[in-house]
């Protein structure tokens, strides 16, 4: 057992592993890859297990779990299916996070509960075509009009947008670009003026649609404001703080799975009269991969433990975990494909999917380069 984990965390692992290995069979995953549709039945079952409200206190109808439980859930789901992990972590972080951080009691009741029960889907509309790593450069505006606000702008790469009931839209409430005054609004996707683009055709994480959200003179009441006017960026960054850890966890999960597959294949496949794993070049690759997975896990659990203990240094460690795990997951999945040789390039083998799914991990929830900025700022203070 890892020194940062307690028996209850291992029990969470047992639950999620049992769930993933029972429900997310090869047939189910192949079907998702084929149709790009995620089965509602599995989405509902995850809700029943409590995967969507992990960190929400039990008094608010959540699970009352800690960050270590949360990252273990992400790790174990991603170990079998990265897209399933996206379905499970989105309600926790991107959808639920901003409401849990700054929502009023009424907003928590109206939005957070149904999100946790799997009855409502909310997307997180922050990124814009010209504002990715630097969200303060966004151009979407919210202009006050009496008691209402009028929203205009375009958001892109928004996870779950085509199927969302609501979007948390971040918009400028002060037109002066230097003001950095960004506010968050909960916007009903059925409102007049709200539309979504066609689902993007992605390299990986197939089965969870991503698209633009277009806001054309969308009128929302002041009740839609989440937190105070101007608190949006703070809320978004606090949300992404948590997201970083879940992203590190899914990188650990997919890397573990790639390593397991590589070990299995290297024992079965024979070349030059002996199994691949008996060739030193392959055995040493596996040794490197296994060592890196352990290092990833250690960094991840340490960051989650620090968050649970309220450490002030957690931001740096969460960035380190996200940066290191995402980069290493890509390398490990690449090596797993390499060990599989030509077969690894074929869709019949799991490592082909792992390789595609891992690619986005150094990009979303803060690129590796943004994490390097956070880490370097922290150590050069």
């Amino acid at each position: 057992m890892n020194a940062y984990l307690e028996p209850k965390h291992e029990m969470v692992r047992k639950l999620v592993r049992q769930f993933a290995e029972t429900e997310l069979t090869k047939e189910v995953i192949d079907e998702i890859e084929e149709t790009h549709e995620y089965p509602k039945e599995i989405f509902d079952k995850m809700a029943k297990c409590g995967f969507y409200g992990m960190r929400v206190p039990q008094e608010l109808g959540g699970q009352g779990a800690d960050y270590r439980s949360y990252v273990i859930m992400a790790e174990e789901l991603a170990r079998v299916s990265v897209v399933s992990n996206i379905w499970a972590t989105t309600p926790n972080s991107l959808a639920g996070g901003p409401i849990l951080n700054e929502g009023t009691d009424e907003q928590k009741e109206k939005y957070l509960k149904p999100v946790m029960n799997g009855e409502m889907k909310i997307c997180f509309a922050l990124t814009e075509p010209e504002a990715g790593s630097d969200p303060s450069g966004m151009t979407t505006t919210a202009v006050k009009d009496g008691d209402d606000y009028i929203l205009n702008g375009r958001k892109c790469f928004i996870t779950m947008a085509p199927i969302a009931d609501y979007a948390i839209v971040f918009a400028r409430t002060n037109p002066d670009p230097k003001a950095r005054e960004i506010s968050a609004f909960i916007v009903d996707m059925k409102l007049e003026g709200v539309s979504t683009g066609a689902p993007e055709k992605k390299m990986g994480v197939i089965g969870c649609p991503t698209s633009d959200v277009i806001l054309n003179n969308v009128r929302v009441s002041k009740d839609a404001l989440l937190g105070e006017e101007g608190s949006g960026l703070r809320n978004a960054l606090a949300t992404l703080d948590v997201g970083r850890m879940a992203c590190a966890a899914q990188a650990v999960g997919v890397a573990e799975a790639a390593l397991e597959e590589a070990i299995k294949y290297s024992k079965e496949r024979k070349q030059f009269g002996k199994p691949l794993c008996k060739h030193q070049a392959i055995a040493f690759m596996l040794a490197d991969m296994a060592t890196e997975v352990e290092a990833m896990r250690g960094l991840l659990y340490q960051a989650a433990w620090m968050k649970d203990k309220g450490s002030k240094e957690v931001g740096k460690f969460a960035s380190m975990a996200k940066y290191y795990c995402a980069e290493k997951a890509n390398e490990i999945c690449g090596k797993a494909v390499q060990i599989h040789g030509g077969y690894g390039f074929m869709k019949d083998y799991k490592v082909e999917r792992f390789y595609r799914d891992a690619r986005v991990m150094t990009i979303y929830e803060g690129t590796s380069q943004v994490q390097q900025m956070v880490i370097s700022r922290a150590i050069l203070k």
Partner: protein
Amino acid sequence: MKIIVCAKQVPDTTEVKIDPVKGTLIRDGVPSILNPDDANALEAALQIKDADPDTTVTIVSMGPPQATEMIRECLAMGADNGILLSDRAFGGADTIATSSQIAAAIRKIADYDIIFAGRQAIDGDTAQVGPQIARRLGLPVVTYVQKIREFKDGKVIVERQLEDGYEVLEVQMPCLLTAVKELNTPRYMTVHGIMDAYKADIPVWNHDDLGLAPECCGLNASPTQVLRSFTPAPKGKGEMAAGSVKDMTETLVDRLNEKHLI
């Protein structure tokens, strides 16, 4: 309704290897799990609780201190509380001693309507402890329950699995029922349940708590003597027929003919 579920922590036999020299199980490093039939027993109790929220489900388990983890797993699935019977004096118990100790615990709990147990544990495979508990408590018992039909006038109507069908039985409560895997599909734990389970107090009862003298417990009270354990020689590899039912039937008839069995 008040329900007691007897559950056992067992080694995951799918991962157990056998010592080729001693003929005994190698349990080192083998994960421990909730006995599968006991998970069906618990699920049956939880389904009754789903229908009637006033129901309480109590887990009774005998085992070493680490069996509390299995009890917590049961709580995380939805059981209300659990009691562990654990004492050095209980060590080496055969089914006679085990049922005596569990029956003593149930007598101490006193208030119950149904006791559920799994059909058998995957480590011992005796299927004796459930019926023995019922005998000791003077309760009616139905083994191999594959369906619970209904509760009526203090009675429960169940289907009992037979090799070639089932029988329908009406049983006066309190009673003991043993569950087979066909009874239901055990639910998953919930995260909420896990968090609560680790806050729960799980009392540990020893021989004094059960009012049993040490000589009436464990190995001292076990008439069963294991003379030798051995691994049966593996059977030859079977042949699987494939194709349509007609093809498979023809293959089977051909093989039986070849061996002059028909």
